[in-house]
């Protein structure tokens, strides 16, 4: 766990540090630059701008209509609410797990650290299936018991929150662990020696020191949670106005005939895309603050 170079979370974000440029300019340099730019244009930049164009291909009015549909409004509200709870849970547990992994030693610590990364490599469909097998009211291991106790997990928001929490679980932790490792315990110990309780030391010393890393992880987590599709599809049933999130709405509308439906799909997709890009921009501007801490 010593380095974060090869963990998935590090694969998410641009690294820190000085950029080394080579002095001479050669044809090779130009060719490489061109190839890379062309690759990115054809794979990402052009397609994304086309979605924006397609959304407004019939003008502004259909877009505004789409935004006012009750299903659409509900879907986004549901998405936001599910994402909110998932991120909250992941942040709370993320802080606890990060502290445990960095500050303490206990049997199974290394295994736990490795397992934390699992959600990033597992297919969302597998996640959905896994939760279904355990929490389904009909056939699940403990789902039946839960349902008779009144708690429906699958085909209801709790299951959706769990699925979303699953897929974005490592994100906060992988941001906090390096920072916690780096800042060490000196300041906290000083605070304790001055009479602060562990909770006070945490709130007044640790939390401020990790706040940018924490914010970074939360924003990443939020972006991931808002965009979850496959896992939520299995555990939610995708019933409009009940358990249909924004991503499920995009799928449904696109597959229905009619230009209004297509525009609605594109509108919802564009909003999701804008939120994602906004999150990226926020996160990119947070990095220098994180570095200077």
């Amino acid at each position: 766990m010593a380095d974060s170079l090869t963990t998935p979370a590090a694969a998410i974000r641009p690294p820190r540090g000085k950029v080394v440029t080579v002095r001479s300019s050669s044809p090779f340099r130009w060719v490489l630059r061109l190839i890379v730019i062309a690759y990115l244009v054809f794979l990402v930049i052009w397609p994304v701008t086309l979605v924006a164009k397609a959304t407004f291909s019939r003008g502004l009015a259909p877009v505004l209509d789409a935004l006012q549909q009750p299903d659409v409004i509900f879907a986004f509200k549901l998405t936001l609410s599910v994402a909110f709870w998932a991120v909250l849970i992941n942040t709370a547990f993320g802080i606890v797990i990060s502290l445990l992994l960095v500050r303490y030693t206990f049997p199974g610590r290394r295994a736990l650290s490795a397992m934390i990364d699992v959600p990033l490599s597992v297919s969302p469909i597998v996640v959905g299936l896994a939760l279904l097998l355990v929490y389904s009211g009909r056939t699940g291991w403990i789902g039946g018991a839960l349902e008779s106790a009144g708690l429906q997990v699958i085909y209801a928001p709790p299951g959706m929150i769990m699925a979303t929490a699953f897929v974005s679980l490592p994100l906060v932790i992988r941001e906090l662990v390096p920072v916690l490792t780096e800042i060490g315990t000196d300041a906290e110990q000083a605070a304790r020696s001055l009479g602060a309780s562990p909770l006070q030391a945490f709130l007044s010393i640790t939390l401020p020191a990790i706040k940018w890393a924490l914010l970074y992880g939360v924003v990443l987590s939020l972006a991931r949670s808002l965009g979850e599709f496959g896992a939520v599809k299995i555990v939610s049933g995708g019933v409009a106005m009940r358990t249909q999130t924004a991503t499920l709405l995009v799928e449904e509308r696109y597959q229905q005939f009619g230009p209004e439906n297509t525009i609605t799909a594109y509108t919802a997709a564009l909003i999701l895309a804008l939120i994602a890009v906004l999150a990226l921009v926020v996160v990119t501007s947070l990095r220098p603050k994180e570095n200077s801490q």
Binding site: A2, R13, V19, V96, S123
Partner: protein
Amino acid sequence: MTSSAVTPLIERPDDAPPPSPGGRRRRRRATDLTPVAGLGLGITMLWFSLLVLIPLLAVLVQASEGGWQAYWEALTSPQTAAALRLTVSQALLVTLVNIVMGTAIAWVLVRDRFWGKQFLEVVIDIPFALPTIVAGLVLLSLYGPSSPLGVDWANTRVAVFLAFLFVTLPFVVRTVQPVLIELEPEVEEAAASLGASRLTTFRTIILPALAPAITSGAALSFARGISEYGSLVLLSGNLPYSTEVASVRILSYVEGDKLTEAAAVASILLVVALVVIVVLDIISRRVARHG
């Protein structure tokens, strides 16, 4: 309270481990769990088990429900076997492309300087932040029926390739970038002073230094590729035997209430994910050792 054989010199705090009968006591270290930490660990382990461990275990258990015979049959049934072949082959192909392009992109981002480079940094991360269903729409707009390029690759294998390529874009780039940044320029100058051309320096000095990072990125890219679902829904049409991938097979089984078969295919994806984790762990350990 204590046996006469072991008389502590100082009052033991209540939460210290009691001495063993032989009289040897384990010294408390600063990083041992305090009661509060122990409780925290217990609660988080409980939640982690309920959310991750037990469900994933359930997949493996369900997969073995019908014994080896049923397991093997589920995997080798024609449609499923085709889906698995497609998934693995396309993921491998995409990983190879990523190894080359990812390294090239990282190189340009680190070593080159031009207006707009910061913009490209954000672009690299878009596939990671974008919801997969939206990624499908995005690719559809350039490579589908209404493509300005005049191609229509929707519902073809190329669509699968493109979808995988899109979602795995950041992985090799982001693992290679930090290593490239850390490379000392003096090492390349040393190679030059010893007579190595730029190409030889790249081949013998830079590439070996990047190898662990490239491998990690490739492993992540492969795992991500075979897991992909959302972008394929709209883009590939999920046509059996031609554009249907493993994750779509699983969903079909689930919708048909064939949970054991679903779990069988899922177990393959799960095993690959676990192998990737182990590989990454080994690599990071080796890198830490060799400095």
